[in-house]
């Protein structure tokens, strides 16, 4: 590596890690303000955050919404991709555009539209409506990933299974899903990541039970404190651990 690319790489990493480093550093602040001078290290704010029931409840809610909505999004996306890839349908281009369309729309618009409908129908908002919104935004991604990964290789295996008398359900369950497992997992974890971190839909479509980003937002609105740094650092730690475990256990093996 020559000097110039190396320097650029270092600068880029400095830029990328600057806010994270600041965040983590001041999460160990001893005093009540997350600004210099640094007077830690202290674990005071972590203790406070971990004993805050609202935050831990929100964390559980987030996990709940993220896993369930992602599982649904992957399932719907998989079925649609399979239907489109394996069957000749009239208007398939149109259907594909329709399924992809939510990607081109801001989350705010998806959330606002759902909020209006829910209110007009006189229904209440809850974690359920948040989950519905998250399926809407994640379905196109899951569909696109899975559709792109359905190649001739699986198709031949599917045909062979069919020739041997497997029913359509058996083909999907025993051939297609196992062969596409890496793509299915990738789509699932991408969905979980996006849902886990999504703010505006969760903000507009929830009432008493909220997800973590919404709880963090109300913390942020209610007073400057290293508690925010501690929450942020803790979430970062949890997510990064999950990412690294996945990277090592799931994706490394597949290569």
């Amino acid at each position: 590596m020559r000097a110039l690319p190396f320097a650029y790489l270092v600068l880029a990493f400095a830029f990328i890690y600057l806010p994270v480093a600041t965040l983590v550093l001041f999460s160990f602040q001893g005093g009540t303000l997350p600004v210099s001078p640094f007077d830690g290290p202290s674990l005071r704010w972590y203790r406070e955050v971990l004993s805050d029931d609202d935050l831990t409840d929100a964390l559980v809610n987030s996990l709940f919404v993220a896993t369930l909505s992602s599982a649904l999004a992957v399932t719907l996306g998989f079925l649609a991709a399979y239907g489109l890839a394996r069957h000749t349908l009239s208007g398939s281009v149109l259907i594909r555009s329709l399924l992809i369309a939510p990607i081109t729309v801001s989350y705010l618009i998806v959330g606002l539209g759902l909020l209006i409908v829910v209110q007009r129908l006189g229904l209440g908002v809850s974690l359920l409506t948040v989950g519905i919104g998250h399926v809407v935004i994640n379905l196109p991604l899951c569909f696109a990933i899975l559709y792109a990964s359905m190649g001739a290789q699986q198709e031949n295996a599917e045909r062979a299974a069919r020739d041997l008398g497997a029913t359509e359900a058996q083909v999907v369950r025993l051939i297609t899903v196992p062969m596409l497992a890496p793509a299915i997992l990738a789509a699932f974890f991408l969905s979980v990541t996006l849902s886990w971190d999504e703010f505006i839909i969760a903000f507009l479509l929830s009432r008493f039970d909220v997800t973590l980003p919404v709880e963090i937002w109300s913390l942020l609105r209610s007073g400057l404190s290293p508690r925010l740094n501690a929450v942020g650092s803790f979430v970062f730690l949890v997510s990064v651990t999950a990412v690294l475990i996945l990277e090592i256990l799931v994706f490394r093996k597949r290569r």
Binding site: L33, D53, D54, T56, V60, R221, S222, G223, L224
Partner: protein, 351 residues
């Protein structure tokens, strides 16, 4: 963390957990962020074995719309700007307070505010907390004498060192006071004058900030003055940065007051009244006054027996008679003027 582990232990039994939680009585309250402090809510929950569900809101208009669109029984308690109680009553979202249920005998007489909380002789709400939107500043960086008059606060001298609190009513109230217009008398005809003051203020300001942004800006030296600030802004910073303080200029400042009432159609009116009684009790009042979100003076003077001397110092307990005399209530525009004021505010932000 104990919550987390227990949740994971019984993922399969989650439905049962939810079912058990539903069996407990619940109280749904639409509130300001100071009511979300567990130190305030938990004692009530434990004493009455209930679960209090809290949702914050931003503006009265949005809260009224939310209540009108909800099903009857969705909400039990509403915390609202004192000056907006009549709007809530007009919209039919507040229920009359049961006669004699809540006593205001121990309240500071100036903040009982019958005229705010009563419509046609019927009491719908009770004042719970008040404070001031005035000038917060960094005593190390600005001349304290300059802060004693509105005319010298947003002067050229402090160009780029001012932040404006992002809520149109109090800041426009301050602008009106600077122009010699009483906040209670603001009308459509005053918009030009107020707009002129806002525009000057804006041109000198570095930012227009919400609570945290304003606190961050003051604490990090981003700005030295917050117009619209007050004890609620600097009290939580007082411990570490005693140089961050506040004052009420000689022209006066704006006084905010929040009221609490029972929502019409509540399925738990008795519990709702119990909650309000707790909030205005000396203990509840002391906790509300020092809530982690923002501090403010309790309406009930008896809270003084529960608050520590240090807390009372920060709240400036002993100066209250002077402050009450010097300040005017929030402007209380009708619906049309309200829209005009909001538009003017947004124009000012976007200038």
């Amino acid at each position: 963390m104990k919550h987390l582990t227990s949740y994971f232990m019984c993922t399969t039994a989650l439905c049962f957990v939810a079912g058990a939680a539903a069996a407990q009585e619940e109280l749904n309250a639409l509130v300001w962020c100071d009511h979300t402090d567990p130190a305030l809510i938990q004692p009530f929950e434990e004493a009455n074995n209930v679960k209090v569900n809290l949702r914050e809101y931003e503006g009265t208009g949005a809260a009224l719309a939310l209540l009108e669109q909800s099903r009857p029984g969705d909400w039990d308690v509403l915390v609202i700007d004192g000056i907006d109680v009549f709007r809530a009553v007009e919209a039919g979202v507040l229920a009359p307070m049961p006669e004699g249920a809540v006593s205001t005998a121990d309240f500071f007489p100036q903040v009982v505010m019958e005229e705010n909380n009563t419509v046609d002789g019927v009491t719908y709400a009770v004042t719970e907390k008040f404070g001031y939107n005035t000038i917060s500043y960094n005593a190390d960086k600005v001349d304290a004498a300059d802060m004693e008059s509105l005319s010298t606060v947003w002067s050229e001298k402090y160009e780029g060192r001012i932040s404006i609190y992002d809520y149109y009513l109090p800041v426009m109230g301050l602008a009106a006071i600077a122009e010699g217009v009483a906040t209670a008398e603001i009308g459509a005809g005053d918009m030009d004058a107020i707009g002129g003051v806002l525009s000057t203020m804006r041109s000198r300001a570095a930012s227009v900030a919400g609570v945290v942004a304003a606190q961050t800006a003051l604490a990090t030296g981003e700005v030295d003055i917050v117009v619209g600030g007050g004890e609620w802004l600097t009290a939580v910073l007082a411990e570490e940065q005693p140089n961050l303080t506040w004052t009420i200029p000689k022209e006066g400042a704006v006084r905010w007051a929040q009221s609490i009432g029972v929502v019409e159609g509540s399925e738990n009116p008795d519990l709702a009244v119990e909650f309000i009684k707790y909030i205005v009790s000396p203990e509840g009042q002391a906790r509300l006054a020092t809530s982690s979100c923002f501090w403010g003076m309790p309406a009930n003077a008896k809270a003084g027996e529960v608050l520590t001397d240090a807390q009372k110092d920060i709240l400036r307990w002993d100066s209250q008679p002077d402050y009450l005399a010097l300040t005017q209530l929030y402007p209380a525009p009708d619906a049309d003027l309200d829209i005009e004021m909001q538009d003017l505010w947004l124009e000012t932000l976007q200038q």
